[in-house]
């Protein structure tokens, strides 16, 4: 699409979108670092993740301010309006993902007090990597305005859901084996659930990209796994 006659309008739109990309970059790192802190039992890294969440929150606030200013001063229409609306929704999703990463970091500190549960931190790291890759592709699809990539991200949410369901059953087994596993497994379960929710937010960002480009939200036909509530123990 060609430039606006009023070039300051283009600069405003680019500036607010650059903030979203910056925020996305930080949040991706937060996901990976929180999973690494858990796996390597690194209390310092967990602390860094917790502290860095403030920068994520500030960026969200800044993006909301810029988007409100854009709407008030530029009266955007059509795709420009969808840019303004999508940055608000995408930054809200990123902020939630950031909060989950912070929560993982908090729980990994608590987990330092109990013995490691065999294999699960690595499984959680794999799940976090898959989710981070989803978020990265969702943000790439945003930058490239790539609807196909956004649709691909939507379908990949199923994998993360399945990883979560597998971990859920694993934690149940550990807790049934030995009641002393209950405290760490409860924390690990919340961590897995947090990552599963991150995947949902990455999906939601991908859906915003589809809305931004096509003007319509996708209909709800993506594959879904059966929920753990229906899973037999």
């Amino acid at each position: 699409m060609s430039d606006h006659i009023l070039s300051a309008f283009d600069r405003d739109l680019e500036a607010v979108q650059a903030l979203v990309v910056k925020m996305g970059g930080i949040v991706e790192e937060q996901i990976l670092n929180s999973a690494r802190a858990l796996e390597t039992r690194d209390a310092d890294l967990a602390k860094t993740v917790r502290e860095r969440d403030r920068a994520v929150d500030q960026l969200e606030e800044k993006i909301n301010e810029e988007a409100a200013r854009l709407i008030a001063l530029r009266a955007p229409a059509a795709r420009d309006l969808r840019v303004a609306l999508s940055v608000i929704k995408i930054s809200a999703s990123l902020e939630r993902v950031g909060d989950y990463a912070k929560n993982i970091a908090k729980r990994s500190k608590v987990l330092l007090d109990s013995p490691p549960i065999n294999g699960t931190p690595a499984a959680i790291r794999r799940m976090a990597q898959a989710t981070e890759a989803m978020l990265k592709d969702a943000l790439d699809s945003y930058i490239q305005r790539d609807v196909d990539l956004a649709r691909d991200v939507r379908t990949r949410d199923l994998e993360v859901d399945q990883m979560y369901n597998a971990l859920f059953r694993e934690f149940l087994t550990y807790m049934l084996e030995d009641p002393r596993n209950i405290t760490p497994c409860m924390h690990l379960h919340f961590i897995a659930k947090n990552i599963e929710r991150m995947g949902d937010h990455a999906t939601s960002i991908a859906e915003q990209v589809i809305y931004l480009v096509t003007g319509e939200l996708p209909d709800d036909t993506r594959p879904k796994s059966s929920s753990v509530i229906e899973t037999e123990v």
Binding site: M1, S2, D3, H4, I5, A77, A78, R79, L81, G215
Partner: protein, 265 residues
Amino acid sequence: MNDMTLTERAVNATENKITARNVQVYYGENHAIKDVDVDILDKTVTAFIGPSGCGKSTFLRCLNRMNDTIDICRVTGEILLDNEDIYDRRVDPVQLRAKVGMVFQKPNPFPKSIYDNVAYGPKIHGLTRNRAELDETVEASLRKAALWNEVKDRLTAPGTGLSGGQQQRLCIARAIATSPEVLLMDEPCSALDPIATAQVEELIDELRTNYSVVIVTHSMQQAARVSQKTAFFHLGHLVEYGDTDKIFTNPTDPRTESYITGRIG
């Protein structure tokens, strides 16, 4: 999603008031309007938008044969008002303009009293039988134009002594005094301040309960605020015509999108 549409924006009429088919307008050699087909609904505000020289005012002026006054102007195609061809030889343009009223860019009250400005149309068309009926028509028109309370104590004062916004509302009162069915407005607010503009816009919204209103405007925000249907003209073509909220959120034609987002003028 239709049931979710705010009632405020809903188009409550489905009947066509004006039907235009294959309309061409030439100014001498210049082909100003090309193949325009459009259905204008009754009891609806329709906005014509587009860059200067795109033909929107020219097309508006076809709807009450104002172009007849321009010698070199030639109109072909079909324009039906309530299924009757307005370019039929038997149609008297003066009678047509009583049914299809017009309000112009600059308020142009006659150099007469406020009362006479409004009474003029009903008088020449013989719409009232006596003074009492005329008084009633003048008051009703001024009330509909949201001007009555401001002028009721000085009806004999000259219309030209009113403020710009009041003058424009006086012209609207004058246009509706002949009980038209369609009201054409050619940039009715471009000479008004924001407050007077808001008053006229409020008035336009009220008028649509009784009339079919067609407004040409350079302000896309005004089109978005007051209309239920929007037509985008570009280089003499009607590029896109549809629900105003659709045009401003997700237009179909890339030219419409470029124009409403400020990328082509």
